[in-house]
Symmetry: C2
Subunit: 210 residues, 2 copies
DNA sequence: TGCGATTGGTAACATTAGTTACAAAGCTTA
DNA sequence: TAAGCTTTGTAACTAATGTTACCAATCGCA
């Protein structure tokens, strides 16, 4: 854990802060698909992601989902931070996209470290900054792009996150993430296959050239 | 200015911080329609809004716009904050929706006050929190609602922001904000009029019952 | 091996939103 | 007041997306 922590955050945080994190943080190892946080639940701690990817999504009143963005090594969840501080419920759901390891920081430390460590403050601000930009990007995608472009972006991002040319998703799962319907996604995927961008298989999609 | 500042921020900030703000802040009085910030421009200072409303919007590569949210008394622009700190260009455009008064804080003070004043830290965090939530709300609206619902929400919000039962916009202007076309908006507005929710006039819309 | 469940392909159709085109109504100003 | 601009209304059409329905392929497992 210590080596992993230094590997991901060593250049960001000073030695002293790293040591504090080691002291109070709890190491967690979660399998792909594990639900780290749900809408309406209260937040107990703040996660620092060491490895793997976390999928952050939104749900509307009818239970329809929408993928917001992914968190990666070195990221944390800004939503969590604000929830911690404001003692409000979570507005989003977070699910491990791949197997992931992370360190949970007790929320009381948040406030203390924010006044004590400049590097922590910068990290928190930068994190907010990144999340806001990702939200902007998602919004752009929905507001300005057609579904075929969104699907293309989705496939690219998923391949990047999983570091693989093979996307292990069913059409239905993709439809959920993009808040569309299975039939529409199948249709557009078939179009991409005909263009030679991908190759379709049962339960996975092979990326040829995006 | 001093009275206005205490009125809007007196309960948030301690006396000492208020005094510092008075010392280093510049008072600004801008007319409705004034462009406070544009996409791609660098940010010189951080605004604290004293009165009026600021419209924050996004633009895509083709110049198509989309309204993100409004800022009101007591708000600041989180985008600005992150831009200041990261020295990156603005991702959004900000335009005074009504006549507005605000105080510009030199960006150097940001960093100093963040370590010096707990109330400032809380303000900054809370501000991020609010903006993230507004972004989520906008995203919900675009992803999960049809245009008629979005239009309804738009009219409600605009009436709230301007504190008026009369919305002084042309159909074309509304179409820009919602990233739609004039014909579509006219169509839906007419439907709302037939339902008795609004009354249409040239250059303004009267709200009957939303 | 065979049955049921899951997954994907496709057609036909419905709905929503965007586009083009044009006319009428209402301001503005020469 | 006539000419010209802006704004709004509306029809007809196109495009994109969503829905329903049904079948075929594949998989897991009894």
């Amino acid at each position: 854990m210590i080596q992993e922590l230094k590997n991901s955050y060593g250049s960001l945080f000073e030695e002293e802060l790293i040591n504090e994190i080691i002291q109070v943080g709890t190491y967690k190892d979660v399998p792909a698909g594990f639900k780290l946080m749900d809408i309406g639940s209260y937040v107990k701690g703040m996660p620092l992601l060491l490895s793997g990817a976390i999928k952050v999504l939104r749900e509307d009143k009818d239970g329809d989902e929408l993928l917001l963005y992914y968190l990666e090594k070195g990221d944390t969840c800004s939503m969590t931070m604000t929830c911690c501080m404001g003692q409000t419920k979570s507005e989003i759901r977070a699910i491990a996209e791949t197997d992931a390891t992370l360190i949970m920081i007790p929320i009381q430390k948040m406030e203390i470290w924010t006044s004590k460590y400049k590097s922590w403050r910068n990290f928190v601000f930068e994190s907010y900054h990144n999340r806001l930009n990702e939200m902007l990007h998602t919004l752009d995608s929905i507001a300005f792009n057609n579904m075929d472009q969104r699907l293309l972006d989705y496939l690219k991002e998923k391949a990047r996150i999983t570091k693989s040319k093979v996307i292990e998703s069913t059409h239905q799962e993709i439809a959920y993430d993009l808040h569309s319907s299975r039939v529409v996604i199948s249709r557009l995927l078939k179009k991409l296959e005909n263009l030679g961008n991908i190759k379709l298989h049962r339960n996975y999609i092979e990326i040829i050239n995006l």
